[in-house]
Amino acid sequence: MEWKFSEEQEAYAEALQDWLSGAVDSEKLRGWFDSGDASAFAETFARDWAGVGIPEEDGGQGGGLVELALTAEHLARVDAPSAAWLATTLAVPALAGRPAEVEEAVGGQTVALLASADRIPSAAVPLQGGANGLTGSVARVLAGDTAVRFVVPVAGAHGLELHVVDAGQESVRVTPRRLLDRSRTLADVTLDGAASQRLDVDAVSVLEAISRRAAVLVAADTLGASQTMLDLAVDYAKQRQQFGVFIGSFQAVKHAAASIMVAVEAARSAVYYTAASVDSDQPEAALHAAAAKAQITAEGTRSADTALTMHGAIGYTWEHDLQLYYKRAKLNEGLFGSPGAWNDHIADVLLLTAGDQATPRLLGAGASV
């Protein structure tokens, strides 16, 4: 195994970082968050970058999950609004064989999986299909408020299906929800006899692929947010004085910073290792993805609390940017499944015995111990 970015990947990350440093700052973020409208950012970002990580034959710029994870990490490092990008990136594999829709998605027309963001995508509750269109409600859909299309899991007569639904129909009702973390958006979505087209894909395996992607990309998001929290906390400890010395000279503070750094570098090691494992379809790729999501997002919230304590009271204010990353890390822990939910799936695969009833559907037939 070689853990190393290619020259193209290094160059991509650097260019993206440069672009983001010009496009995002604290003042702009707060403007978007206060107005509840980040579409200006989402549109320019999509125009310049959304094709990365999507195969060229599908209308993207090529690259794979490592490039997508780099994107997720760097978006989070500046707390950029990323619901539209993440939702579209997750949903695109369902649109295989539909180049026109992929092209629109890459061009900034958000596509979202119609599944509750509080659970693992493969555990999505399917809507009931019927002659009169699709009917049912799904709460907490990532980017549900800005999506122009939904990819909808449907319980068909012969098993799970995926359909595409145009969000502009009258039969589609969207109720935006307001999160503590303003960098992502959720909405409750109700379909009342919505017209749909069935997608010509294997629904189960596409949802499993989406789950693996979601795991890696949310973990990568926590990596980015944690790195920034570490930078903020260390900078603060180097300039804040108490008892006549910089607080960064106290061992308690040093050890707190070191513990965040352990989490950040472990996360960096595992996010990219796992992305490569998933992309190259390693035998344990699904377990790797589950482990990365469970471990990294749980540790990310501990890092957030440590960074907050290092800041003292200033970190507890609305005015200081730490709260943005703190909330981002907290949301990531539960986004697309809690660490407990992902660990349950790992246990299902590892501890399955002949007498067990449990079927580790998420992790797929290829998973082995």
Binding site: M1, E2, K254, M261, A270, Y273, A294, N343
Partner: protein, 410 residues
């Protein structure tokens, strides 16, 4: 990021696997559990490694090594762990002392010492720590006084692993050219020199693994100095750099340990006869440990890739030990917890319960693949020692904060 193996790596793995499966059954199993009994078991294996060209994999070829990179070396370690190869007894010689001599030593020193490390003839130990100098190594007091043709060394060393087995030691002593790290010289000491006394210390399980070493007016010739007189700190930093990759990737194969643990859980029932694997707490604990092992594996691969590419040790290397030590402790503790109270018996009591002439004898009977209670008990305690050795957890955190994050010393 590339999971594929290079053709030379894949070929090497195949060869190593075949060699291990041929060679390991020829050893005089079982492997004795206690350190002092291990040498006659281990030495023929080390000799076999040398003769087959598997000793000193990353050492330069001119000193009897193989000149391979860390990726190849890690393939050998993986295959060894999976095949159940004997414990490496001469890690100080192979990983620290040898590479230091190869880098900083004189032609005479290289000629005299290096090959014998690889053949298994000489085990080495490291005489660095002292009763008053643990984390603060540069405060060491052992004195070297210049005499005609050499030096007279007096002082006391402590926590010296394997000193009772060692033929030679790397030794730090104060030659007095300056304050703290400016007045230290790096020596090579034959452990059978007149005036060297080794007194074994029992660790918390009651076994003698490390030692006190007393140096009473020991004579060393000028030719025993490595590097410059008073310039020993620079050589010491070299030794510690050689140590870093080994520490960051860890000496315990955590992938193998978690597999053992999963097998253990799958095969057991609780006191009421229910499968342990059905217990929700056990399930989430196993999954959590599996996840941490996954992260450790990723860190190790990153460290090995960096070292193979000739990069200086980076962030992943500096956090390796801090991630690895608590993971091994928790793996072993969880293994022990599967049978409540099993970790709480005195070893002597365990001996009586086993009833076949002692723990060691019981382990003989269990054979080299024994992955039961004794395995976890030893690992659980060993892991505590590892967290202290080579810079304790708290010192490691200081180092990360000051050297990597640039936080103020004072």
């Amino acid at each position: 990021m590339d999971f594929s193996e290079r053709p030379d790596e894949a070929q090497f793995r195949t060869e190593v696997r075949a060699w291990l499966s041929e060679t390991l059954p020829t050893l005089q199993w079982p492997e004795p559990p206690e350190l002092e009994d291990k040498v006659p078991f281990w030495r023929p294996y080390q000799t076999a490694l040398f003769e087959a060209g598997y000793a000193g994999l990353t050492w330069p070829q001119e000193y009897g090594g193989q000149g391979l990179d860390e990726r190849m070396s890690s393939i050998f370690s993986e295959e060894s762990a999976h095949a159940g190869a004997p414990e490496r007894l001469n890690t100080i010689g192979e990983d620290f002392a040898g590479p230091t001599i190869a880098h900083f030593g004189t032609a005479e020193q290289k000629e005299k010492y290096l090959r014998r490390i690889l053949t298994g003839e000489d085990i080495w130990c490291q005489l660095f720590s002292e009763p008053e100098s643990g984390s603060d190594l540069a405060s060491l007091r052992t004195k070297a006084v210049k005499v005609d043709g050499g030096w007279r060394i007096t002082g006391q060393k402590i926590w010296t692993s394997r000193a009772q087995l060692a033929a030679h030691a790397i030794l730090l002593a104060r030659t007095g050219g300056g304050e703290r790290h400016r007045g230290i010289t790096y020596f090579l000491l034959p452990m059978d020199s007149e005036g060297v006394t080794v007194r074994p210390l029992e660790h918390m399980l009651g076994e003698a693994e490390f030692n006190e070493v007393f140096l009473d007016n020991v004579f060393l010739p000028d030719s025993a100095v490595v590097g410059e007189v008073d310039g020993g700190w620079k050589v010491t930093m070299g030794t510690l750099a050689f140590e870093r990759v080994a520490i960051a990737t860890g000496r315990v194969n955590t992938v193998k340990e978690i597999r053992n643990l999963v097998d253990d859980v799958r095969s057991r029932t609780d006191a009421d006869g229910n499968p342990l694997g059905a217990d929700p707490h056990v399930r989430r604990s196993v999954a959590d440990l599996w996840g941490r092992v996954h992260l450790h594996q990723a860190i190790s691969q990153r460290v090995i890739s960096g070292a193979s590419g000739g990069e200086p040790p980076g962030e992943a290397t500096s956090i390796g030990k801090l991630f690895f030590c608590p993971l091994v402790e928790d793996l072993a503790d969880f293994g022990l917890s599967l049978e409540p109270l099993n970790d709480q018996f005195d070893l002597e009591d365990e001996v009586a319960a086993v009833g076949t002439g002692g723990l060691a004898a019981a382990e003989h009977e269990a054979g080299p693949q024994d992955q039961g209670h004794r395995h976890w008990l030893r690992l659980a305690n060993q892991a505590r020692g590892t967290a202290i050795a080579g810079g304790s957890t708290y010192i490691q955190r200081n180092i990360v904060a000051e050297r990597i994050l640039g936080m103020p010393k004072k």
